[in-house]
């Protein structure tokens, strides 16, 4: 049942992806709005799937990768939908849909096969670490998508091929504001998530920093985003450079959290 709910959410995310793609390509503002509503419906189904996890005996841990990826996808969609209330951001919300689709599809295919948890992966600290890190990744992911959109739109404007008419794309200023909000919320969450991870590590091995690939790369990611936060909030930078750095930073961080283990 829970897997079916995950799959249904994935199907709705796919529908939102198609709606957004068509809405931007045609262009058609109604289709873009339809995509947003579909995205909201998918988020509700996804939330129901999460709520259902607690009905299982014993409930599966969020510290497994499928569950964490699913949580991250849901939080990213929720954040994008909240942002919609603050401006013309239909295009951005729709572009989060494909990532949510991939994340949810992966979770629905893997969540059923979760085996026993590794020693020490249950408890409040690991859960706190995963929830905070997932929320940070979700927000910084939305900032990354906004950055890609910013770069594409700026390029079109520079090339004198502006997107005319009612194409449902956000303005550069709105995308820059998304970057601001995502960094303001995402970086503290990331910091607290890492602190929770350090405490978890200390409990397991007695060391705050375990110098694993995951910890090292994530630490580098934190430094990159720390520099971005300083540039953005202390030096007041904005615009194309910040958009490009945020996108690159998110790609690095995502790899550090999800992909670096594959290097082993």
């Amino acid at each position: 049942m829970l897997i079916a709910l995950h799959q249904a959410a994935a199907a709705f995310y796919l529908l939102a992806t198609l709606g957004t793609t068509l809405g931007l390509a045609l262009p058609n503002a109604r289709l873009a709005r339809f995509a947003v509503w579909t995205l909201a419906a998918a988020a509700l189904l996804h939330a129901a799937a999460f709520a259902g996890l607690h009905t299982l005996d014993p409930p599966p841990s969020l510290t497994t990768r499928p569950a964490a990826v699913s949580l991250m996808a849901w939080l990213a969609v929720a954040f994008a939908l909240v942002l919609l209330r603050r401006g013309r951001l239909e295009g951005l919300a729709g572009l989060v849909a494909p990532f949510a689709f991939i994340g949810t599809l992966y979770a629905s295919s893997a969540i059923g096969g979760i085996g026993p948890l590794a020693d020490g992966a249950s408890g409040s600290l690991p859960h706190l670490h995963v929830i905070l890190a997932s929320a940070a990744l979700a927000m910084l992911g939305v900032a990354g998508v906004a950055g890609v959109l910013f770069l594409a739109e700026a390029r079109q404007l520079k090339a004198k091929r502006p997107v005319a008419g009612r194409r449902p794309l956000p303005s550069l200023e709105a995308l820059d504001r998304v970057n601001l909000m995502a960094l303001a919320l995402g970086f503290p969450l990331m910091t607290f998530g890492m602190l929770a991870g350090m405490l978890w590590s200390q409990g397991l091995s007695g060391r705050v920093w375990d110098s694993s690939l995951h910890a090292t790369w994530t630490g580098l990611g934190w430094v990159i985003f720390g520099a971005l936060v300083v540039a953005r909030f202390v030096l007041g930078w904005r615009g194309r450079y910040i958009a490009a750095c945020t996108t690159a930073g998110f790609i690095f961080l995502f790899f550090a959290v999800v992909g670096v283990e594959a290097l082993r």
Partner: protein
């Protein structure tokens, strides 16, 4: 009944001619037109780009002559036209389907100087309202204009004909909206104080631009423009500080070399922490160094760039007209079907009258023979009426439906033969002579009944009754 449209537009007459024929108050002119025997209904449309009269008439040649005379002698006051123009050349006319199609194309902004411009629909609605208020518009033109509004609405919603801006000023506003979420908290700098600057500023102000500074060589000129738009006036020596504050820069000033160069913008970006700047350079020669566009977060558009975008948008609109023409044709066909169906109304009425006459005659004969009481008479009366209605229901309904089609007239003809409507000796024929309706019936009466629902026009009868407000 014929529909006739006579008029002139931007293609047939230059503005100095059109302005002589322009009408501010159509009411009295329409009253004169419909007072003529040859014109039943009339609507007069007068805009910057066209003056047109559309009428319904039963005397086409006379109406044609009347309208030409109306244009040349009454609207044009008999004044001679420029030598290069002839009355035949400036006036065009369309009859029936062509007239309907022309009006629908005009309302849908296909036949416009700027394809897709939205004002024309409002002007057509105003023209129709004036005609309705002055009593010059009747059921046929009401239905025709309802069709025009429907076509215009469909074209606007089902095509992208009006989506992309085609004027340089509106392109600039559109671009500004792609960069900034809102212009209400933005600061604009105008370099120069000429007419072009004023026009572009008016467009940006219309889009909500808040704060404006004007910089000019001659400070007094800057002050004059600044006063009109509630802005502050500056000299060119203040440019570095002004550029650093400006979100939108509009420049059109006579200068031999670039007045706004890369170092100026580099410094401005540093001060602004890369807050974007939208620069519109409409000066010839250009006032802004083109290399400025290479800087991150500065978006520079010169006159050619804006013109290029406007032309690309205009081309897109022209492509959309193909789809729009299809919609117009659908609505023309729909109106044509309704108009054809009007011809069925007298036939249907005569069929019913004949049947009723036969029923009454046969009933009277039977009553005379049997002498039944009042209750029985009422029962038989009701029974025979129900039988006649039920028998006629199917043929009358089919006749109505078929009359809207291309071969509708053949069905009407067949009905006349089958029911012997042209035979004065046929049973019930005396009903024709008794009420004398069918042949003497005016087009207005038929159409009025049709609008009320007798001919059941498919979906726009309500729109016709609603008039312009239905849009």
């Amino acid at each position: 009944m014929k529909i006739l449209l006579v008029g002139m537009n931007h293609r047939t007459a230059p503005v100095e001619v059109r302005e002589r024929f322009a009408v501010d108050e159509p009411g009295p002119w329409l009253a004169k037109l419909v007072a003529s025997d040859e014109i039943d209904e009339a609507v007069l449309l007068s805009t910057c780009n066209r003056v047109e009269v559309v009428v319904t008439t039963r005397q086409l040649d006379a109406a044609r002559h009347r309208l030409r005379s109306f244009f040349l002698r009454e609207l044009g006051r008999g004044e001679p036209l420029p030598e290069s123009l002839s009355p035949h050349g400036i006036l065009y006319e369309h009859v029936d389907t062509d007239a309907v199609r022309h009006l629908l194309r005009v309302s849908s902004s296909i036949d416009a100087l700027v394809v897709g411009e939205p004002q024309i629909l409002g002007q057509v609605k105003d023209a129709f309202r004036e005609a309705t208020e002055s009593g010059a518009s009747g059921p046929v033109l009401s239905r025709l204009f309802a069709a025009a509004f429907t076509a215009a609405k469909r074209v606007r919603h089902e095509t992208r004909i009006a989506e992309r801006p085609v004027s340089v000023a509106r392109v600039a506003v559109d671009l500004a909206r792609q960069i900034f979420e809102t212009l209400e908290d933005k600061h604009a700098l105008l370099v120069g104080a000429g007419e072009m600057i004023e026009m572009a500023l008016a467009a940006l102000r219309g889009a909500g631009l808040a704060e404006v500074s004007v910089a000019n060589r001659t400070r007094s000129h800057a002050s004059a423009l600044a006063q009109r738009f509630g802005a502050s006036a500056h000299g060119l020596d203040e440019l570095p500080a002004l550029v650093a504050r400006a979100d939108v820069i509009l420049s059109c000033i006579a200068a031999e070399r670039s007045l706004l160069n890369v170092p100026l913008f580099e410094e401005a970006l540093r001060v602004r922490r890369h807050q974007p700047i939208f620069v519109i350079d409409i000066g010839v020669p250009r006032n802004v160094d083109p290399d400025v566009n290479r800087l991150d977060d500065v978006y520079l558009y010169d006159l050619d760039d804006l013109g290029g975008v406007a032309e690309a948008n205009a081309e897109e609109r022209r492509r959309e007209t193909i789809r729009a023409e299809g919609i117009v044709q659908e609505e023309v066909d729909r109106f044509g079907g309704w108009l054809t169906a009007l011809a069925a109304v007298p036939t249907i009425r005569r069929v019913r009258d004949r049947a009723e006459a036969v029923r009454q005659a046969e009933l009277a004969k039977w009553l005379a023979k049997t002498g039944v009481d009042e209750d029985s008479r009422r029962a038989v009366e009701g029974l025979t009426r129900a039988i006649v209605n039920k028998i006629l229901h199917a043929p009358v309904s089919r006749l109505r439906e078929q009359a809207e089609r291309e071969d509708g007239l053949a069905y009407l003809q067949a009905a006349r033969v089958l029911f012997a409507l042209d035979d004065p000796t046929a049973p019930g024929a005396d009903a024709d002579a008794r009420d004398g309706t069918s042949e003497a019936e005016t087009v207005e009466e038929i159409a009025t009944e049709a609008v009320r629902g007798l001919a059941k026009p498919r979906r726009t009868a309500r729109a016709a009754e609603d008039g312009p407000e239905s849009e």
